[in-house]
Symmetry: C2
Subunit: 402 residues, 2 copies
Amino acid sequence: MKIAVLGGDGYCGWATALYLSARGHSVAIVDSFVRRQWDHELGAQTLTPIRPLSERINLWRELTGNNIETFVGDVTDYEFLASAIQEIEPEAVIHFAEQRSAPYSMIDRRHAVFTQVNNVVGTLNLLFAIRETVPDCHLIKLGTMGEYGTPNIDIEEGYISIEHNGRKDRLPYPKQPGSFYHLSKVHDSYNMMFVCKVWGLRATELNQGVVYGTMTDEASMDEGLINRFDYDEIFGTVLNRLCVQAVIGHPLTIYGKGGQTRGFLDIRDTVRCLEIAVLNPASRGECRVYNQFTEQFRVAELAEMVKTAAAEIGLSVEIDHLTNPRVEAEEHYYNAKHSKLIDLGLEPHYLSRSLLDSLLGVATKYRDRIDPSLILPRVNWRRTSNERRSRTNQLPVEFHTP
Amino acid sequence: MKIAVLGGDGYCGWATALYLSARGHSVAIVDSFVRRQWDHELGAQTLTPIRPLSERINLWRELTGNNIETFVGDVTDYEFLASAIQEIEPEAVIHFAEQRSAPYSMIDRRHAVFTQVNNVVGTLNLLFAIRETVPDCHLIKLGTMGEYGTPNIDIEEGYISIEHNGRKDRLPYPKQPGSFYHLSKVHDSYNMMFVCKVWGLRATELNQGVVYGTMTDEASMDEGLINRFDYDEIFGTVLNRLCVQAVIGHPLTIYGKGGQTRGFLDIRDTVRCLEIAVLNPASRGECRVYNQFTEQFRVAELAEMVKTAAAEIGLSVEIDHLTNPRVEAEEHYYNAKHSKLIDLGLEPHYLSRSLLDSLLGVATKYRDRIDPSLILPRVNWRRTSNERRSRTNQLPVEFHTP
């Protein structure tokens, strides 16, 4: 199948592009490299030394004989995007090409506005480009479990049947997003639902949980194909961060009580979910929503798991509760449905000791690249402007790499 | 009270500014005149000959002794907006400053993107400006009843209590907006709800129905204060359009079956609702939602009422059903709650014969300014690009003003 992967140079995008290419699909990557730019802006970098896209793709071709085409440009530039889609003629478009960090969107007004404009306009452009050039193409859009927030009722997959005053309807599930980034994803969801209705597009929204892991079969083939591993306060996700902290002897930091419960999944399941969505397209006019995660964990529980795994390889670490920089419930009910992808054949890789060992192994291997000053949260949800202070000044001495 | 009216040169904004000024409030208008610019773009103009804002404000001061300050600039320009808010130091901000036409947002990609960026960024800027300069100020934001769409259950005021699998929560009412414009208002609602929570702002969202009428006590004081009366396919609302059609002997045009039911209100109730909201501020951290309309009508029912009123002043008109240019249910359940503003003291002006006579009177008085070529819909929801054809070419001969 001809598949366009928008944002294919990013974390989920790169793993997905390789996975689909390995399975014989004709894959094209559309990317502007703005994600790499944000690392420069933040003075951060991925723990793993990722190569330039052109180099990675040449290596992939040498190793497998599979070609991945690239289109370099920004999805907010309609002329570029429409011409790329026209040239690729995809049967499926996978849209990862968004600013995906909640803290980044909460830095200040400029970052909030940028995040919403970038994500909303990019997605609007894509919807128009599909309608105008490949109207039968299946759009697979990454949403986030964070769109739902933490309601006191079960979270369904996109829609909920409501009985109210003796009448019934099936309606979009109420959203309670918790950052300007999460809000941008909600805006996208509504825009997408609308165009499926008025233009008859076919779309699948994958509301993804927190992804962990860096190794997929493909990315493991050669060091030169290695994927991102972000651990900084802005783009790092919780499990990566905890493993990096364990390796450098930094206390495992939990924001607030740690009772925050979220859905999680292994990057190997992310790529398989994308394949499942691609192979089972939505109908014309349908805007389907799948919750894409395999397990729920409380953050404090993850910290305990990392602490135990670390201890068994001789790393002794404490757990530290920080004042929560976010505004979120720290103890709450959470029961999110996630059976639709399983019904279509997903066989989850549950979080295991061996996976934690592998993450700790990656962190150990690249330990010299760890910058401890990037780990502690500096973006406070309650402020409208967060100074990103000089990194060396704010770093407690005991956290320096020995 | 010191009140900033953003978009105070527009239809609802002008009526509201005068009404509040007449009641002794200190009113400042913030406007960029982009609404007048859109008329030029579309080759349309208000039926009533409105004067430049500076002239209207001078006249108002001569007539009443009340001064209305003006700040000319765009809310999407943060430096401008923040400095205006800082100088005004408002206790309440009323935010009308958005692109408010569904057909305008559906013309093509450029207009869709413009509408969403303009509205979302303007509102984000305002939220940041309030938080940074006047955090205790009460924000009153115009939403629209169109955010809810036409669900098969009763529409509540902003939130709904849901019982699901044995648990309960009060959640944002599910939205089903029907155009890129309506979507932009939903995006705003979510953004606003979020900042009330994280920054403790106080906000009231008024989900307004379709407003009709042009005369308020204040605007009637002098011809020079007259308000807008839009009847064109892009900015005109249904009742204005029907009255203009009756006056020129144009069939009253209904889109599709005409079973579309919407909430309506008199412009005199709009201004009173705004006053009620201003006088009863939301609490810190509260994002309150009121549905602002007084009566529900089916479109076909309104056409019958206009036809009858017209006949009694000697105007004979037919009713014509056009192929619906929009994608919407043409027969549906509709029961939207709207008691909160009544509980706070709103005494509705229900749609009456005398009001219809007054609208027909305005249309008759300015009959020479009617351009019949502006009335028929040319923006089709099913297309991604609508050519706004040469006006003279597309006009059926029998519709020319005799």
